[in-house]
């Protein structure tokens, strides 16, 4: 499969050596963590645990890996995704995440009131993401949290670019339509 983040070197890399794997880890761990967190794995601690587990599994399987740097990232993301979805299966429901406010970039010039309001909206958005199906959510995470281009998302998920665009549009539309009105926000 062609990985996300296209345009990088197509040179085949070996992950057999400790140094090579460590370099891969250093280059990708932030992306893998954000992906796991974005998929709704739970709290920061949960996402950290699953990120660590992703690299442990990759380390164990590193001798079987063959591909370039792009493929390595795609490989890691697939391991991560399987771990997250496995966890969902066991827990039967989306784990609670009460740490989102610690991961929001704020405008330094914003007033405390605006800051609080912004945090509230992002927290609400994070809850609403649970209303999306897995693919919709994953595509939004790849596009807007990891910053992947539509083409790269299509390559990673092995679907057409046009399909990715349609899914993004529909996911945003669903979020808009299902957004609770003010009364529901206050009581919810």
């Amino acid at each position: 499969m062609t990985s996300p983040s296209s345009c990088s070197s197509e040179e085949i890399i070996s992950l057999r050596s400790t140094a090579a794997f460590n370099a891969l880890y250093r280059r990708t761990h932030q992306t893998v963590f954000r992906y796991i967190y974005g998929l709704g794995a739970g709290s920061t601690q949960d996402a950290e645990d699953l990120t660590a587990e992703t690299y442990i599994r990759a380390w164990q399987a590193r001798r079987r890996f063959r591909g370039d740097a792009q493929a390595a990232l795609g490989w890691l993301l697939r391991i991560a995704r399987n771990l997250v979805f496995d966890r969902f299966r066991w827990q039967k429901r989306q784990p609670k995440n009460d740490t989102i406010e610690t991961h929001i970039l704020h405008d330094p010039a914003a007033s405390p009131e605006a800051h609080a309001m912004y945090t509230q909206q992002v927290r609400l958005l994070w809850q609403q993401l649970n209303q999306l199906d897995r693919t919709q959510r994953e595509i939004l995470v790849l596009r807007y949290i990891l910053g992947f281009q539509v083409r790269a998302i299509g390559e990673y998920l092995e679907i057409k670019e046009n399909t990715v665009s349609v899914k993004i549009r529909r996911a945003l539309e669903k979020l808009r339509q299902d957004w609770p009105n003010d009364d529901e926000q206050q009581t919810g």
């Binding site: 761990h29 932030q30 950290e48 990232l73 991961h103 992002v122 807007y144 281009q149």
Partner: protein, 266 residues
């Protein structure tokens, strides 16, 4: 009555893009014990703060502040006539910085250049030849500015960053006492200055949980060991920041070195 206050797509996208989760210090401490980290330096013990680490953290913080203080504002027209910098009315300012960027300053440079290019949607210019002692340590993509940041370091803690974006209507905020010098970069007009925003309480900030974002007071220090060069080529804005080198020692770059570096980027 049901009230309608639903966000539009742009608001939702803005909120999504503001979520930038980062692993905490505990994650990195555990990672240091994984088998692939063998041979790396052991994690810092709690409360142990060697001078060199402090210097590097302080330096990195200084750079983070410089980088984060960009502004699309046109206030510059009402102040000194500069093309790339926006002097503030004082030498004091407040910045919001995720503590993780202080405790692990190089942690965000996890991309290859090609990966950063893919995210940014343009091809990065890189130096044809690196200054001696500097080595590439990683790239980052700053979604807020649409910028690619290339990070280079020396063994002695010198840092060189090359930032490039299409955001030509963006100004770098500097202190009121900053002195900007007009220079020529390959026939293009550029601006050079020495100094940086410095955060005095960097050490105490490191004692706070890594996941938080703190408002910190920063002071413009015109004597800080940091230099900046900005210029524009076509629709692209370029910036080089160098900090931490020791004058007359390997790895130190002066104004002429920065201009020469800028002119051999392609």
């Amino acid at each position: 009555m049901m009230m309608s206050n639903k966000p539009d797509d742009n608001q939702i996208i803005d909120w999504l893009e503001s979520v930038r989760p980062t692993p905490g210090a505990e994650f990195y401490q555990k990672a240091a014990h994984q088998p692939w980290a063998a041979g790396e330096h052991p994690p810092r013990k709690a409360g142990f703060f060697p001078r060199r680490v402090a210097a590097i953290a302080g330096l990195a913080l200084l750079l983070v502040v410089v980088i984060s203080l960009t502004s699309p504002s046109l206030e510059v027209l009402a102040q000194r006539w500069l093309q790339f910098f926006l002097p503030k009315t004082s030498d004091q300012t407040t910045v919001q910085i995720p503590i993780s960027e202080i405790s692990d300053p190089a942690g965000r440079f996890t991309l290859t250049i090609a990966e950063a290019e893919a995210l940014a949607g343009f091809t990065a210019r890189v130096p044809a030849e690196l200054p001696s002692d500097f080595r590439f340590s990683g790239a980052a993509y700053e979604a807020e500015r649409g910028a690619i940041v290339l990070n280079y370091m020396t063994q002695s803690g010198g840092v060189l960053r090359i930032i490039q974006s299409r955001a030509v209507e963006e100004y770098q905020q500097i202190g009121a006492s900053a002195e900007v010098e007009m220079v020529s970069v390959g026939g293009l007009s550029g601006e050079y200055l020495r100094g940086a925003w410095v955060i005095p309480e960097v050490k105490s900030a490191l004692d706070t949980p890594a996941k938080t974002t703190l408002p910190l007071q920063a002071t413009w220090n015109p004597a800080a060991n940091s230099q900046m060069l900005r210029w524009q080529s076509g629709e692209m804005l370029f910036e080089i920041i160098v900090a931490g080198g020791v004058e007359n020692q390997p790895g130190y770059l002066d104004k002429e070195d920065l201009i020469a570096l800028a002119e051999q980027m392609h």
